[in-house]
């Protein structure tokens, strides 16, 4: 490639980034709207705020916040932190702030006609940034791939299955203490909005049409001798209501085996679509968004 050609290509790229165009709304790919999942990460890089996410499980109550800021279209950085309050049976009460999580993520491939999205990111739990009483002192890096797929491309004979969609993440958690593990999580969801608008009108009220029954899962499997133990994780069946600007979600936390917990817990989240609440300021990418 000649210098002038590369300059021309660079100019085209910059122009493409800067030209005002219709933006993809958060969680939208083709005709599919994916609500933000609460027990596992979703593949979208968007302007969102989860505040609070409250988790009650295994004798511990965690209150977390996550703020995701898009830097340019398709690339966002998520900041997460929380306050943990643990009352282990027979153990000492412990409470304090969890470590800060910094998670850049980038959308790498979108196929609107197949309602498919693929992205990748890194989660960096900054060891020692939280309270000594509850937070690890060592950092953990988790390179992660993420995907979402809606089944709107199923044939007519399977039309009632089209509202189904899945999301998933797979990452390798790398720690400085040689206790590496694979973190795998995801969701199976059935969109009543998709059923109502794209398959068969069921006469749902506006409220019911915006509900998404969902089952999330989140597991960790040790991958080396330092990890020890067995695979642990939970299945989280629940319901998400997605409005124009906010989302409410609640799920049960069902341990998958005895090593994962002894009792059913609960997780709930209030979520804000910042790109819709502040479309011209906080809710647009810092670079390359609409003017």
């Amino acid at each position: 490639m000649s210098i002038s050609a590369s300059h021309r290509h660079a100019a085209i790229l910059v122009a493409a980034l800067l030209v005002p165009a219709a933006a993809d709304a958060h969680g939208v790919i083709g005709a599919r709207f994916f609500p933000a999942t609460i027990s596992s990460d979703d593949p979208f890089a968007a302007d969102e705020l989860a505040l609070p996410t409250i988790t009650i499980f295994n004798h511990e109550t965690d209150t977390n916040f996550d703020y995701s800021k898009s830097i340019f279209p398709g690339f966002a950085i998520d900041l997460g932190m929380g306050y943990d309050d643990a009352h282990p049976p027979g153990g000492a009460h412990a409470s304090g702030f969890s470590n800060l999580d910094v998670s850049p993520a980038m959308e790498l491939f979108r196929s609107p006609e197949h309602e498919f999205i693929f992205s990748a990111g890194v989660d960096w739990e900054i060891g020692g940034s939280g309270s000594r009483s509850v937070a690890d002192r060592s950092s953990t890096f988790t390179p992660t791939i993420k995907y979402g797929k809606g089944f709107g491309d199923l044939p007519d004979e399977m039309a009632l299955l089209r509202p189904f969609a899945v999301t998933g993440t797979v990452g390798t958690a790398i720690t400085s203490t040689n206790s590496n593990s694979v973190a795998w999580a995801g969701a199976l969801e059935y969109s009543l909005l998709y059923l109502q608008n794209n398959v068969r009108d069921q006469g749902f009220s506006n409220f019911v049409a915006h509900l998404t029954p969902i089952v999330e899962y989140s597991f960790t499997s040790p991958v080396d001798a330092g990890g020890g133990g067995e695979t642990t994780g939970t299945f989280n069946p629940g319901l998400i209501w997605s409005g124009q600007y906010t989302q409410l979600a609640i799920e049960a936390i069902v341990p998958a085996n005895r090593a994962s917990g002894n009792n059913v817990g609960v997780i709930a989240q209030l979520h804000f679509y910042i790109d819709d609440i502040f479309p011209d300021t906080l809710g647009k990418p810092l670079f390359g968004g609409k003017p």
Binding site: A23, D24, L51, D156, N197, N198, D201, Q244, D276, I277
Partner: protein, 116 residues
């Protein structure tokens, strides 16, 4: 401001924000999956948000993929519609795309059937 007040402010911000969001389809006539005894003369769609007419539209095609609109789509406010040619019995596919005034794009498609 204590934590409870802060959360209350956030909730108000979220539920009472001005109307700039992506456009959900709220009503369609004919509706998705509907079977009609009488051919419709138009397809009318209502959305949750104001639409950008220049970037929103709807097409209707028969099972052979041939367009059956009788004219251009009309986009105004929160709705869009398109007149149809006289429809023979069969299944028809409605394909729409909508850009709300904050430039967020949504799209969808569904089928309806005209009985013999």
């Amino acid at each position: 401001m204590n934590a409870r007040s802060f959360l209350a402010c956030l909730a108000i911000m979220g539920f009472a924000a001005p109307a700039f969001a992506h456009a959900f389809l709220e009503h369609a006539a004919p509706a998705a999956g509907e079977t009609l005894a009488t051919p419709p003369r138009q397809v009318a769609l209502a959305f949750s948000e104001q639409l950008e007419p220049a970037f929103s539209g709807v097409t209707v095609a028969d099972s052979a993929g041939q367009d059956v609109e009788a004219g251009h789509a009309v986009v105004a406010g929160e709705s869009m519609s398109v007149a149809l040619k006289p429809l023979a019995p069969g299944t028809y596919r409605v394909t729409w795309h909508a850009v709300s005034v904050d430039t967020h794009r949504t799209e969808g498609a569904y089928s309806f059937t005209v009985k013999p």
